[in-house]
């Protein structure tokens, strides 16, 4: 297996809508039971903003976070495939790769982007 220790997971979390595909996809490929997964989705808010406007009223985001079970699907990467969560995310809000490349990509993605280095 190749060395993926410099790889990370990018989350463009302004788009995460908590569809659950990352969680269930991970459980399926790693054969994990309900309640255990290599990725978990947290909810921030919803808080109504101060001085809100009609088109900017809520502070409310879902934020996926890899757990200790995440190995970025190293076996799939070896086969030239994407991690399960990245491939199946319904909003395409996930990406993977060497962290320095992800950092460069994040510059173009605007607000609300996180990069995780699970390993």
């Amino acid at each position: 297996m190749a060395d993926y220790s410099n790889y990370g997971l990018l989350v463009d979390y302004k788009y995460c809508d908590n569809c659950g595909s990352c969680v269930v996809g991970c459980q399926e490929i790693k054969d994990l039971p309900a309640g255990k997964s290599g990725i978990q989705v947290f909810e921030k808010g919803p808080f109504r903003k101060d001085n809100d406007t009609l088109d900017d009223r809520w502070d409310w985001d879902y934020i996926p976070v890899p757990t200790d079970l995440c190995d970025l699907c190293a076996a799939r990467l070896d086969e030239g495939e994407k991690p399960m969560c990245v491939k199946h995310c319904l909003t395409f809000c996930l990406d993977f790769g060497p962290v320095e490349e992800l950092a460069k990509k994040s510059e173009k993605l605007g607000e609300k982007v996180a990069i995780y280095k699970p390993m």
Binding site: V24, A34, H88, L90, F92
Partner: protein
């Protein structure tokens, strides 16, 4: 022909497995979305599910329900052999015995012959659910297989898709119109496509519902390209809460008032498309007059939406082009919904957004794949067709719906008038759960006396456990061949192919069951002429000049986009006579409906306060001070399905009621507490989710709940009446054309309880007889008092 896509549909792998490409419809349930799936099959078993990145719409993405297909396929609770049960033991979960298909066919043949001899075939009613592939086969199952005119979608007022389709038919002369998300092989990049600037989600949340075949997450693709959203919903949704998007948080059931208020602004501020109105609309002057009855101060009072927000939204909708409104189930589940739908389509028309790039697509009548539904009627005589239950009373309904009237069907079942029903066929439906029928315990009691009841499904459900004598096991979408037809043939903007990848047990598809039963019980119909279902599939394509391929060729392609022509009304492509215009009585888009006028309905949209609100029933306002809405979809489940799949259930373990923090505090309720929601019709328990995204005056109860882990035998029936919103809804609260139900808005109260099982009184709540007599209608204060006593 040039192929749009050229895939291998089977790719052998070095480890001995094979990858099968297919498009998903159902089961497991979803609408005809056709998501691209790669199924890894080894030794005849599904070992892995991946998304198909070559699918031009879904591009590899899959929702949790498809990702968990392996769990669903091999769940120990799945039924993979036919079973029968003594009719005396209906409701006994332990009384089923395995039989062969031949025994099942013999039983069906004997039962149908017996019913025909004693009562005639019209004594059979076929029940079907919503959205799944089964809903395109319950038409032939009734008409050409069992040869009865009575097919019933048991939702009060046919309140899912039927009303919207009918409104589109009456005033636009076309099938279900839908937001254009670039229905070309190169999608958004096609030079003929134009990105929608503003999309309005009106009583709809496609991210989870994927309504009628629209891939909901196309909206995210559009949002990333710059589309803005206006969401009309009693709940602030995640989509409506994104920066740049907005939410009009209305009182449930007041959509028609809001739409008329928006029309008022667009017309009186002269923001409408004069060219389209002058050339292609009928009745503009009458509409301009009507909207003046809806000044924004009044609309704000009726809808709770601040006047300045309505004005701002109306201006955005009128001045951004293309703009498109996606109308949702909230329009159907409303007895004033025909008017709301009419007003919403009128906004689309007068802003010039009908059948334009990025606007509202209008179905091309030249692509008819799926026409087997209505064609199967040819095997019923006119005399037999006239016997369809309840349609004599509802001519507008009968003109567009090839089914019984659902509310009349319940009354026929209960009274035996105009004739007795003696056999039921439950075609993949679970209407005792809170999915469609209102006052489900009445349906339960009315169907118990059937002489014979047959059911098709993949898992046991409360409805089948309660009522059926014969269980026919079904295939998943991965285990049979078929077509994915968005909008059920009324707007074939793209088409998908379902290709069988493997088999499980002795399961069969809807088509296979129609074929096998049809040739046995109704030899005069078409089923006898085919040697196998493949011939039937090929015949469907033979009939389509614009679909020049065989079924096997379609398997290789996976997805197909028929030719897309915009502004078909200018080109004579919509009317039967080939003239330009719309296929309506006047040839125009009817802001004033000539048909409504003929049917005795107001030809123009109007607002009517729902019958069960604090405004309509002031004498009950104190007792039931909140409005409850229901039916918002979630990612984990398709209506009442998937509660038994652990990985999916874990995403939403309990039935939830959303309550605003201020309201929760007033009632002493905390997040996670069990709460009983109740009104004059019934009650149920939900678990509190305290959230500021719902209005203080509104609560939202999840629908479709039952508990496969509980005792299945009657009276518990997997706890189906413990958390069942439809028990809180009246039977037969329909509008003047026969459509609608107050499922999206009804007055309630709530109290804290200790658990799901803390029901305070017997689950099986009897409906007060006065309500039954009055169709669930509280006519006056005196009746109200009687009910409350």
């Amino acid at each position: 022909m040039d192929k749009q896509f050229d895939h291998e549909w089977q790719t052998p792998q070095p480890d001995g497995s094979t990858i099968f490409r297919t498009c998903a419809w159902s089961p497991p349930g979803d609408h005809p979305v056709g998501c691209g799936v790669e199924l890894y099959v080894k030794d005849g078993k599904l070992i892995r599910v991946e998304g198909d990145e070559t699918n031009p719409i879904t591009q590899g993405r899959l929702c949790p329900r498809c990702l968990a297909l392996k769990d669903y396929t091999y769940d120990p609770k799945r039924i993979i052999y036919p079973m029968k049960r003594d009719p005396e033991k209906r409701g006994d979960a332990n009384a089923w015995e395995r039989i062969t298909w031949d025994e099942a066919y013999d039983l069906i043949k004997a039962w149908v012959d017996d019913i025909e001899k004693k009562y005639g075939r019209e004594a059979i009613v076929v029940f079907g659910g919503t959205g799944r592939e089964a809903c395109m086969f319950y038409y032939p199952m009734a008409f050409s297989v069992l040869n009865t005119p009575n097919l019933c979608y048991a939702q009060s007022g046919w309140s899912c898709y039927g009303p919207r389709s009918s409104v589109a038919d009456y005033i636009l002369g076309a099938g279900y119109p839908e937001l254009d998300t670039g229905y070309f092989p190169d999608r958004f990049d096609n030079p003929n496509y134009e990105l929608t600037k503003v999309v309005v989600e009106w009583g709809k949340m496609p991210l989870w519902s994927n309504g009628d075949g629209f891939f909901g997450h196309s909206l995210i693709d559009m949002m990333k390209r710059g589309t803005k959203f206006i969401v009309v919903d009693p709940r602030v949704t995640w989509l409506g809460a994104r920066k740049g998007n907005m939410t009009l948080q209305l009182k449930p059931g007041t959509d028609a008032s809001l739409a008329l208020g928006i029309l008022n602004v667009i017309i009186n501020e002269d923001l409408y498309d004069h060219d389209f109105v002058e050339n292609w609309c009928y009745g503009f002057d009458e509409l301009a007059e009507r909207v003046n009855e809806y000044p924004l101060e009044l609309v704000e009072k009726q809808t709770w939406v601040p006047a300045e927000e309505i004005r701002a939204a109306a201006r955005i909708m009128a001045t951004n082009h293309p703009m498109c409104i996606q109308w949702g189930l909230a329009i159907d589940q409303n007895k004033n919904g025909v008017q709301a739908g009419h007003a919403i389509l009128s906004i689309m028309a007068i802003t010039g957004n009908i059948d334009v790039p990025g606007g509202l697509t209008v179905g091309d009548p030249a692509v008819r794949l799926g026409h087997w539904c209505t064609d199967s009627r040819q095997y019923l005589s006119d005399e037999m067709w006239e016997k369809r239950i309840g349609v004599g009373k509802w001519p507008a309904f009968a003109a567009t719906m090839a089914s019984t009237h659902p509310d009349e069907t319940l009354e026929t079942l209960e009274t035996g008038e105009p004739y007795a029903v003696k056999m039921a066929w439950i075609n993949s439906s679970n209407f005792l759960s809170a999915t469609c029928s209102m006052q489900n315990q009445r349906w339960y009691k009315a169907l118990l006396p059937m002489e014979h009841t047959v059911a098709t499904d993949l898992f046991m459900n409360p409805t089948i456990e309660a009522l059926a004598d014969l269980f026919l096991p079904m295939t998943t979408y991965a285990e049979h061949d078929g077509f994915v037809i968005p909008y059920y043939m009324s707007n074939n903007v793209w088409l998908g192919c379902m290709a069988k990848a493997f088999s499980t047990g002795e399961t069969k598809s809807d088509l296979e069951i129609c074929y096998e039963v049809g040739r046995r019980v109704t030899p005069k119909a078409n089923w006898s002429k085919y040697n196998n279902v493949h011939e039937w599939l090929d015949e469907q394509l033979d009939d389509e000049p614009l679909l020049p391929f065989t079924f096997d060729e379609f398997k290789e392609m996976g997805v197909y986009f028929p030719p897309m022509t915009y502004r078909k009304y200018e080109k004579g492509m919509l009317r039967n006579d080939g003239q330009p215009g719309f296929n309506t009585v006047t040839g125009k888009f009817e802001l004033y409906s000539v048909l409504y006028d003929a049917w005795g309905e107001d030809p123009m949209p109007y607002f009517e306060e729902p019958n069960y609100t604090q405004v309509s029933q002031p004498q009950l306002a104190e007792k039931y001070p909140l409005m409850a809405t229901s039916g918002a979809r979630v990612s984990a489940f398709f209506h009442s399905e998937q509660r038994q799949i652990p990985r999916l259930r874990a995403l939403n373990p309990d039935p939830l009621v959303e309550i605003n923090p201020k309201t929760a505090e007033k009632y002493g309720i905390e997040d996670g507490d069990w709460v009983q929601v109740y009104n004059m019709f019934g009650k149920g328990n939900w678990r509190a989710k305290v959230t500021p995204t719902i209005d203080e005056r509104t609560v939202h109860c999840q629908h479709g709940w039952w508990f496969p882990e509980e005792d299945g035998s009657a009276p518990n029936l997997y706890g189906v009446f413990k958390s069942n919103f439809n028990l809180l809804l009246p039977h037969y609260n329909v509008g003047n054309l026969g459509f609608g139900t107050p499922a999206k808005g009804i007055m309630v109260n709530m109290r804290k309880v200790s658990s799901l099982d803390d029901q305070n009184e017997s689950n099986f709540k009897q409906i007060p007889p006065t309500l039954v007599e009055s169709h669930g209608w509280i006519k006056d204060a005196e009746t109200a008092r009687e009910i409350l006593e």
